[in-house]
C-alpha cells in the first residue's frame, strides 16, 4: 500500500468508529485527540482494526505513533508497503 492508500484506510477506520464525524477537513498534523477528541479506548480500536483488516501488529509502546494522520501514515508506510490494497 502507498501512503495515499494508507491514508484512505485510516479514514475508513475513523469513519467506522465515528460515523457522525465529517472527516473531510481532517488536518494532517493536528492530533486526533484534539481534532476528534479520541481517547485511549479509541486508539486501541484503531490498532485492533488495523490488525483485523491488514494483520499489522502494533506493539503497545508504539501506539503513540498514531497520534495524528501524518504521524500514522509515516509510521505505517514501511510496515504496510508489502500489503495489497
Amino acid at each position: 500500500m502507498t501512503a495515499a492508500d494508507i491514508r484512505v484506510a485510516i479514514l475508513d477506520i475513523l469513519h467506522d468508529i465515528a460515523p457522525d464525524e465529517d472527516l473531510s477537513g481532517l488536518k494532517e498534523d493536528v492530533p486526533f485527540r484534539e481534532q476528534l477528541e479520541l481517547d485511549s479506548m479509541d486508539f486501541l480500536d484503531i490498532v485492533m482494526e488495523l490488525r483485523k483488516r491488514y494483520r499489522v501488529q502494533i506493539p503497545e509502546n508504539e501506539y503513540t505513533e498514531l497520534a495524528s494522520m501524518g504521524s500514522t501514515v509515516r509510521y505505517l508506510e514501511p510496515r504496510m508497503k508489502d500489503i495489497a490494497k
Binding site: D16, I17, A18, P19, D20, L36, E37, D39, M41, D42, L44, D45, M48, K52
Partner: protein, 456 residues
C-alpha cells in the same frame, strides 16, 4: 470451543458480545428468558408492546458531542446518531410538599429553580456540582463515602438535600437509604448535567440493533438457554452446563447474571452481602385514549414524595405509596407523536411479599394496588383516570423473571465489583454488579470489561 460465553442477553451482555464478535472472537450469548434485554426488555400483551425497564435513557448529549459516556458508547459500538434517534425530554420535576424543582437537559433550569425556591442554597448547590467525581474516577477513589454525609456537609437545607437524592436513588440506588458518592456523582452527571432522552420506538430499537449487529459479526445468541452450573477445575472455569444438560466449553466466561447469582452457579457459598434488603419496584402502566398533554400534563418525569423526608427503603407493605416516579413516554421531543398516550408509575416494592402470593391473590393484588398507586400519584400529576383504556402492572416478580436477580433487585447488589474479576482467572462479571446502572451504564460496563479482559 468458544472464545467467550456470555451469560445474559441484557444490555451489558449484548454490548460485550458486539465488541468481541466484531473483533473476530467466537462468542455465544446464553439467555435464560425467551426474550433478550434483561431488565430493559419489552413484552407484548393484548396487542400492545410495553417496555419493562425503560423510562428514559440518561447521559443524553446533543448530536455532535464527542465526550462523555454516550459518545464513547456510540464510538465503541459503531453507532451513528440516527441509529438510536434519541429524542430529548420536554422537562421534568421533583415534587415534595410545598416545593417543586423543575429540571431539563440544561442544568441552568435546575439552578434557577433552586435560586428561586432555596435562595440561600444556590452557592452550596454549585459547590456540590464542583465536588462531583469524574467518570474516570469511578470505582477508583476507593473512599466509599456516604452521599448523605457529603451532601449534608454542603447543602444546609435538609429538604433540598432530600429532593436532590430522590431522583438519583430512584434511578440507580442499589442499597437502601444512601448511595456511595462515586456512584452518586455518575448518576447526578447522567441525569442533571447530561440529560434524559428516549428513542421513538422505545427500547426495542436499541435491543434489535445490538442483537442484529452481534449476529452479523458471527455471534451466536441462544434464548431459553439457562445456565445450571459453571463447572470449575482448579482456578478456572472448565465448562458451562445448561439447564437442558448440554455442556459448552469456552476459554472465558463473562457473566451479567449478578455476582452472587454467578457465584451460586459456581457452587461457591456466598455470605449475603446485602442483609438490609434489595431494592425492587412495582410499575403500573396506563394506556390512555388521548395524549397526556391534552389532559394538561406535559412533564416527562415527575419524582414525588409526600413528606419532607424521602424514605428509600424496602417497604413492609407490598408497595410504598409515599413516593414514586411518573413517566410519560409521550413527553419527549419526537419528530412525530406516539400512537397512544401512556402514564407509567413506579414505586418501591417488597419482593418477598409479592413472591409469597398465590396465583389468584397475585392477580387480585395487582388490580388493587394499581388503583392505590394511581390514586397516590395523582396527588402530584393531573388525574388521568377517566382516559384509561388499558392497564398492566409489573412487580418484583416480573423483574426477577426477566433479570434473574435475587429478590427482583432493580439495580443489582449493593457491593460492586469494579474491576470485573472473580475468584476464577477466566470468569468475569459485567452489568449492574460490576458497577454501572441504567441503559448507558450497563452498555459501558459490557464494553469496558470486554476491552479490559477479553480483547487483549
Amino acid at each position: 470451543m468458544y472464545d467467550t460465553i456470555i451469560i445474559g442477553a441484557g444490555m451489558s451482555g449484548l454490548a460485550a458480545g458486539v465488541r468481541l464478535a466484531h473483533f473476530g472472537r467466537r462468542v455465544c450469548i446464553l439467555e435464560r428468558h425467551r426474550a433478550i434485554g434483561g431488565l430493559n426488555s419489552f413484552y407484548k400483551q393484548r396487542g400492545r408492546t410495553y417496555d419493562v425497564g425503560l423510562h428514559a435513557i440518561t447521559n443524553f448529549v446533543p448530536k455532535g458531542t464527542r465526550t462523555g459516556p454516550l459518545a464513547k458508547l456510540f464510538r465503541q459500538l459503531r453507532v451513528a446518531w440516527e441509529d438510536w434517534a434519541l429524542a430529548p425530554q420536554l422537562g421534568s420535576a421533583i415534587i415534595f410538599p410545598n416545593a417543586i424543582l423543575q429540571f431539563s437537559n440544561s442544568i441552568e433550569v435546575l439552578e434557577s429553580e433552586i435560586r428561586l425556591r432555596f435562595p440561600k442554597q444556590i452557592d452550596n448547590f454549585r459547590r456540590l456540582i464542583a465536588s462531583l467525581h469524574d467518570y474516570g474516577q469511578f470505582g477508583q477513589s476507593g473512599a466509599n463515602r456516604s452521599t448523605r454525609k457529603v451532601i449534608g456537609e454542603i447543602i444546609s437545607d435538609p429538604l433540598l438535600a432530600e429532593m436532590i437524592l430522590c431522583p438519583v436513588l430512584f434511578y440507580g440506588g442499589a442499597r437502601e437509604h444512601d448511595i456511595e458518592f462515586d456512584q452518586f456523582s455518575i448518576l447526578f452527571r447522567s441525569i442533571f448535567l447530561e440529560g434524559l432522552a428516549r428513542p421513538l420506538a422505545g427500547i426495542q430499537r436499541i435491543l434489535k440493533m445490538l442483537a442484529s449487529r452481534f449476529k452479523e459479526h458471527g455471534g451466536e445468541l441462544r434464548l431459553r438457554a439457562g445456565v445450571a452450573k459453571i463447572a470449575v477445575k482448579g482456578d478456572s472455569v472448565e465448562k458451562v452446563i445448561l439447564e437442558d444438560g448440554s455442556e459448552l466449553e469456552a476459554r472465558n466466561v463473562l457473566s451479567s447474571a449478578g455476582f452472587a447469582e454467578t457465584m451460586r452457579l459456581c457452587n461457591e457459598s456466598q455470605p449475603d452481602d446485602q442483609p438490609d434488603g434489595r431494592i425492587s419496584i412495582v410499575e403500573s402502566i396506563s394506556v390512555l385514549n388521548a395524549p397526556p398533554r391534552s389532559l394538561g400534563y406535559d412533564r416527562t418525569i415527575v419524582f414525588y414524595n409526600d413528606s419532607e423526608t424521602f424514605h428509600y427503603e424496602k417497604p413492609e407493605e407490598l408497595i410504598d405509596l409515599r413516593s414514586g416516579t411518573v413517566c410519560s413516554p409521550n413527553n419527549f421531543a419526537y419528530p412525530e407523536p406516539l400512537d397512544e398516550g401512556v402514564m407509567r408509575i413506579t414505586s418501591l416494592a417488597n419482593y418477598e411479599r409479592w413472591a409469597s402470593l398465590d396465583k389468584e391473590s397475585y392477580r387480585q393484588a395487582k388490580r388493587d394496588w394499581y388503583e392505590k398507586l394511581v390514586a397516590s400519584a395523582i396527588r402530584f400529576v393531573p388525574d388521568f383516570r377517566a382516559a384509561v383504556i388499558e392497564t398492566d402492572v409489573f412487580t418484583p416478580r416480573t423483574i426477577h423473571r426477566f433479570t434473574g436477580h435475587a429478590e427482583g433487585a432493580l439495580y443489582g447488589a449493593a457491593q460492586k465489583r469494579h474491576d470485573g474479576t472473580s475468584h476464577l482467572k477466566n470468569l468475569f462479571i459485567c452489568g449492574n454488579d460490576q458497577g454501572l446502572v441504567g441503559i448507558v451504564g450497563a452498555i459501558i460496563s459490557g464494553i469496558s470489561i470486554a476491552n479490559q479482559h477479553l480483547l487483549k
